[in-house]
Symmetry: C2
Subunit: 427 residues, 2 copies
């Protein structure tokens, strides 16, 4: 963990180093992934079976390639009622939030008599990747699948590895709740290849979303263009902008909630109170002792954590923009003026009673968000990631007479005479 | 050119071959592009200068790295008035269409007392690639730059190669009209690298759009995630759905308007009249003799063209969906019922007086569209490609009391105790 102050002589240089720090793996998996993709594309199910035997340690022909939807329903029914209610609350609120994202399209006729507009339609099929092992989060399945269903996607395919054949009942329950149409027991780059190109058993999809390890991320990058993908994801991060009137224990818990995800995650506190900074550092240390996930959280906090002391919180906001974080909390009584100053963040959590974790589960907005400074240009997952827009035009002879001559002039200037003639012949 | 009929015994197989035909280059430029990107990232302007000397045949230190904005204004003023008016009409109509795409965002408080919403902001800087040589189209510059300006992008950077130092005055004029802030005389993968990572002279941008050759396309693919990009572009295509009441010369001109772009482009006619199909074939042959771009157009038509005879035009629409074309014309008196049947296309041109070329220039919708069946999942370029969305949440103690317990239950079930504590401490 590093501590910086905007009053330090070296602040500009030190902060630039913080901004440019790369937390993403340098593991060069490009070639491995290319080979896996090529194998699945050429050999289909045989390659899927072989990779699953080798990497996940079970035989799909023995244990079954897919999980019956009835098993998903049974897993849901068998949930502890408290958990089932919590998942249902999450699904209901996520659905309500995303329904407001459905785009309206347009259809109008302008003063030249030209009808123009745009029409949105869902993709035919979407594939959702759900990691196995410790990162197998039912909440992530909901966050990916519900926007697809709200978009109107008719075929929703879940792929999830089942290492050593072990199936996570929480994931099955979430697949049931989200309305998955197929659940396949495959993972890794091989699963992404199956979704992109299809095999005899698994029909290809149009969009692939969902988190994964470096192999999955690289596989998605390589199939981008064959299918749509959500984004290139990297390690997660949180920035907390807090004044000295906060409870240090609350803010420490927020910083640790990011740190416990993975050793590559980053938690940064901006505050205008040096005393408060000290109290938060002490609270982090106290809480780490008790935290069941302390091994991961401590490494992440010590390696990537930072506290930046500013003269005023207003001074912090351009610095936050430079980091363009996935999550930003603005923990003050009146967060709106600071939020209005900010340009770049995936998701913002306003006020003292809005810990980031509330947005991970039940609040409604998506928790699949741009990381690694990509909030400069990227957005969280949404309904339109599972839809596409067809623009349209309709002219009659009178409208073409108005726009035709300019089109002919431009087409000829660009050296495209057949373009010009397709208009000129109709004039 | 191939002719198919849905009545052929082999139709299913033949049509599948048409759908799966790859027109994209297999040239493996991946490694070349990686090397160019690495050089520019490490050596900056020196690498840019060296690649430009080698590939474009001029020295940036001699002829100037950038084109002064005053030169762009002068090029605009020096245009033939007919052309200038045409460009201005195009810019005005493109701007009007795209202004309707500006997203509204949302901000509301639900029945649980949770404030939630989404806020859209432009990216800080966008880079537009404009090819040199024969594909240096001022219309493409307008189609890329105007949505960025409508989005509110404050820094709009144009890069365009100037082979042998030759500058295209039409491109400069369009850059002036579109409001470009910088115009750099660089191209190829090296220009994409400069936009993505920046150099001493050229500050990095957040989004890179615009067409280019295989090197440029691969470079964009490789920098995707470092910056946003518009899409992976491939060869262009048009489908014309036409009944026998059309003028064969009009439809032939439409097919050739696509074919003249490049030998990899594809033009396909679906019709329910065999006689009309014969007349179109004859008209294509007649027009090709006179067409200045006949060398390209003939190769494209003969290699990739197709005519598909259907019993009814309704039968054609699922076949069109399977091809998911960049452009589709529906040339009948009442196109709406057929258009309503269709799911996948980048842009639709409805009725007998809407040749595709009208959409390339002045109609208003964007001509940067998904190709190579990507209309299954991708949309044309638009204002939101230059913006990003920040979701936000604000809870008070009462709202947190309602959502908190479910969050704690889910976080504990997922094995994320610090997430649970960040909520539980506030309850």
């Amino acid at each position: 963990m590093i501590r910086l102050s905007t009053r330090d002589a070296s602040f500009t240089r030190d902060f630039a180093a913080l901004v440019d720090a790369r937390r993403e793996s340098d593991a060069d998996v490009t070639r491995d992934v290319s080979n896996i993709l090529r194998s699945v594309r050429e050999e289909g199910d045989a390659a899927l079976r072989a990779f699953t035997q080798k990497l996940d340690g079970h035989d799909l022909d023995d244990g079954g390639w897919s999980i019956p939807l009835a098993d998903c329903a049974a897993a849901f029914d068998a949930l502890d009622p408290v958990l089932r209610d919590a998942l249902e609350l999450a699904a209901t609120r996520i659905r309500a939030y995303h329904e407001k994202q459905r785009p309206a399209g347009s259809d109008f006729t302008d003063e030249a008599g030209v009808r123009l507009g745009a029409r949105w339609r869902p993709v035919d099929a979407a594939g959702i990747y759900v990691p196995g092992g410790r990162a197998a989060y039912p909440s992530t399945l909901l966050m990916n699948a519900i926007p697809a269903k709200v978009a109107g996607v008719e075929r929703l395919v879940v792929v999830t590895p089942t290492p050593k054949g072990a199936i996570n009942p929480l994931v099955l329950a979430a697949a049931h709740l989200a309305g998955a149409d197929e659940v396949w027991r495959i993972g890794g780059a091989q699963a992404i290849a199956a979704l992109a190109w299809g095999t005899d058993r698994i029909a290809r999809v149009d969009v692939v979303t969902g988190p994964g390890n470096a192999w999955v991320a690289e596989a998605k990058r390589q199939v981008y263009g064959v299918v749509g993908i959500d984004m290139v994801a990297g390690p997660s991060e949180i920035i907390v902008v807090a004044d000295g009137a906060n409870d240090p224990d609350w803010i420490a818990a927020d910083l640790l909630s990011q740190a416990e995800h993975d050793v590559t995650t980053q938690s940064i506190l901006f505050t205008d109170s040096a005393d408060f900074a000290d109290s938060v550092v002490a609270a982090v240390e106290r809480q780490l002792v008790e935290l069941p996930t302390r091994d991961t959280a401590r490494i992440a906090w010590e390696a990537n954590g930072a506290i930046v002391l500013v003269d005023t919180l207003e001074q912090a906001m351009p610095l936050v923009d430079a980091l363009a974080p996935e999550h930003v909390e603005i923990a003050v009584d009146d967060p709106q003026p600071l939020f209005d100053m900010m340009r770049h963040a995936g998701s913002a959590f306003l006020g003292r009673y809005t810990p980031e974790a509330i947005g991970d589960y039940v609040a409604g907005p998506n928790h699949v968000l741009p990381t690694g400074r990509r909030a400069r240009f990227a957005s969280g997952l949404g309904v339109t990631d599972f839809m596409k827009r067809t623009s349209f035009l309709q002219l009659d002879a009178a409208a073409l007479a108005k726009l035709g001559p300019a089109t002919v002039a431009l087409a000829e200037a660009e050296g495209l005479p057949a373009h010009a003639q397709s208009v000129a012949r109709r004039l």
